[in-house]
């Protein structure tokens, strides 16, 4: 009786088959180097320019935190959508993800920022909270009085004739402190992102 089973047994314990069964031939899954993962730190010094936070399209995905060694960007992985804009935006190359950093170097690409401040004159009541809170104003005129009035015109924001006026929008760093301090939501800061090509000598 065992004789008819022999061909089956031979079929099963065939060396080729056994080898296939025990030693998997499929190549292991590896993440390719060009995969754009969560941004990681490169170890370069963060200067707290905050461009990463400004470029980030996902709310609350990146913070710049002060540690004992200095400033450090921190990615919140549940919020991050891995778009890689923070990597492109950073002027110091603090973050890296996939090939973005090196391709920026080879392709001569940059993200540039500018800011635009819109004051809704219908809503503005000239309280001057924005001008007093503005950190750029503080650097220029530390003596600014309450109500946002000042004698100099070199300021970013100033209240005159009962309304807030934007004098030098190019000074704005996009921190949005004015927006947070406005009781009427009359002032809005918008970030204007521009994808640009830069010439070789500028790198």
């Amino acid at each position: 009786m065992p004789l008819p089973l022999l061909p089956y047994l031979c079929e099963i314990v065939r060396l080729e088959w056994v080898r296939k069964f025990f030693f998997v031939k499929t190549a292991p899954l590896v993440t390719p180097s060009h995969f754009r993962g969560f941004p990681e730190l490169t170890g370069k010094t963060c200067t707290h320019a905050l461009f990463c936070m400004m470029a980030c399209p996902a709310p609350g995905a990146i913070d710049v935190i002060k540690t004992t060694e200095g400033w450090e960007p921190r990615i919140h992985k549940g919020h991050c959508i891995r778009c890689g804009l923070c990597v492109e935006a950073c002027p110091n190359g603090v973050l890296t993800s996939g090939r973005i950093l090196e391709s920026m170097f080879y392709d001569h690409t940059r993200l540039s920022f500018s800011f635009r401040i819109d004051v809704d004159t219908n809503l503005c009541m000239g309280c001057g909270n924005c001008a007093v809170a503005c950190p750029v104003n503080k650097l220029i005129d530390a003596q600014m009085a309450y109500g946002g009035r000042a004698s100099t015109d070199q300021l970013l924001l100033k209240v005159s004739e009962g309304k807030c006026h934007v004098l030098h929008p190019e000074l704005c760093t996009g921190c949005k402190t004015c927006e947070n301090h406005c009781p009427n939501e009359a002032i809005r800061v918008s970030r204007l992102l521009e994808a640009v090509h830069i010439e070789e000598e500028e790198i």
């Binding site: 995969f35 399209p57 890689g84 080879y106 500018s114 521009e194 994808a195 640009v196």
Partner: protein, 362 residues
């Protein structure tokens, strides 16, 4: 008028063959389908509501999350609409790179649609082969953009990453392999007797019916309407000089074959782009400003339109998206499914129109 209806059979919203939830209600007489109606609204995201009031750099990422299968075209149409509003110039190299990425996306979407059709007619082997080819296309997409699905490749004034020389060589080699396999599977599909039994002259959409239902994309092109291809109006595609695929049968078989042929055509377009690719910058710069526009492009499923209204700071004040699947689902339920001889053909006919419910409901 009184009709003899045996039973009204709902198919879906949860059905092993549907990728996304939708309910098709069929009024049947025996197995014969008298009429069909579709019920949508199982996965409304309200993404246009989320987009309103946000700056374009956030809406750009929301736009490509409207649909997971055709994300590149959403990105492309939204950004090109912004460029039209504020007259932003795109360098030649960037325009061709956009076409390459868009065509890769179209290839993977069509292969996925054909996979789900093969799966629905229970030809799982061919479906499995097709998914294997799709992985190679996804690999190419990942090599250029760094991500498989939400590529975020196109920005106003250009693209984000350049195509390197060694990647272009890699892509040519990979495209040759993909082309060989797709041709092989196309022949399998063409010559399979059981596939023909389940596909030929089933779910016929005549040219008149397609016009009446405003069918778009491959569904319309399978009914003999090559002129619906929006790529014919796109300046970069006009430079490439391609001829849209069309067939005249209008049945399930024709719709799947049109997609196969379009995959081959996309490969040809990408090759032409790679040949034509000039040296130069990939970003021209430019800040989106105020304006409003209605702009459309050709998604893998048909014509995709965006209506956008922006303010001077680049915030999206109002946005409306019209996706192709809504027209195709209409054509499918009211024209194709009418007169289908067997209930088993209802899911396969529905899938052959490639309905993308995520797009439709947004």
């Amino acid at each position: 008028m009184k009709r003899t209806v045996d039973v009204s059979i709902p198919i879906g919203p949860i059905h092993p063959c549907f990728k996304e939830p939708a309910r098709v209600k069929c009024e049947t007489k025996g197995e014969f389908v008298l009429s069909a109606e579709v019920e949508l609204g199982y996965m409304k995201k309200g993404i246009e509501r989320i987009m309103r009031g946000r700056p374009w750099q956030e809406v750009m990422f929301l736009a490509e999350r409207v649909c997971g299968i055709c994300s590149v075209i959403h990105n492309m149409v939204f950004i090109e609409a912004l460029e039209q509003i504020s007259a932003i110039f795109v360098p030649d190299r960037a325009a061709l790179l956009r076409v390459i990425v868009n065509e890769l996306d179209r290839m993977q979407s069509h292969i996925l649609a054909n996979f789900s059709y093969c799966y629905t007619i229970e030809h799982e082997t061919l479906g499995m082969y097709l998914l294997d080819v799709r992985e190679h296309v996804m690999d190419e997409l990942e090599r250029i953009t760094g991500a498989r699905v939400t590529c975020a490749y196109i920005v106003p004034g250009g693209v984000r990453f350049d195509l390197r020389h060694e990647d272009a060589l890699h892509m040519r080699a990979n495209l040759a392999a993909i082309e060989g396999e797709v041709v092989r599977y196309m022949h399998m599909f063409e010559s399979g007797p059981l596939i023909a039994l389940r596909s030929r002259s089933i779910g016929v959409l005549t040219r008149e019916a397609a016009l009446e239902a405003c069918a778009v994309g491959p569904t319309a092109r399978a009914s003999g309407m090559p002129e619906v291809d929006r790529r014919l109006q796109h300046p970069t595609y006009q430079k490439l000089g391609f001829i849209p695929v069309s067939r005249t049968e209008g049945d399930n078989y024709a719709r799947i074959m049109v997609r196969f042929q379009e995959v081959l055509e996309s490969i040809a377009i990408i090759r032409r782009c790679l040949d034509m690719l000039p040296e130069g910058p990939i970003r021209g710069g430019g800040i989106p400003g105020a304006g409003e526009i209605a702009y459309s492009g050709e998604a893998p499923r048909g014509e995709l339109s965006y209506f956008i209204k922006t303010d001077a700071a680049g915030r999206v004040l109002d946005i409306a998206i019209q996706t192709p699947s809504i027209m195709n689902i209409e054509a499918c339920c009211h024209y194709m499914l009418k007169g289908v001889a067997s209930l088993a053909d209802v899911p396969s006919t529905f899938v052959s129109a490639d309905p993308c419910i995520a797009c439709t409901e947004r």
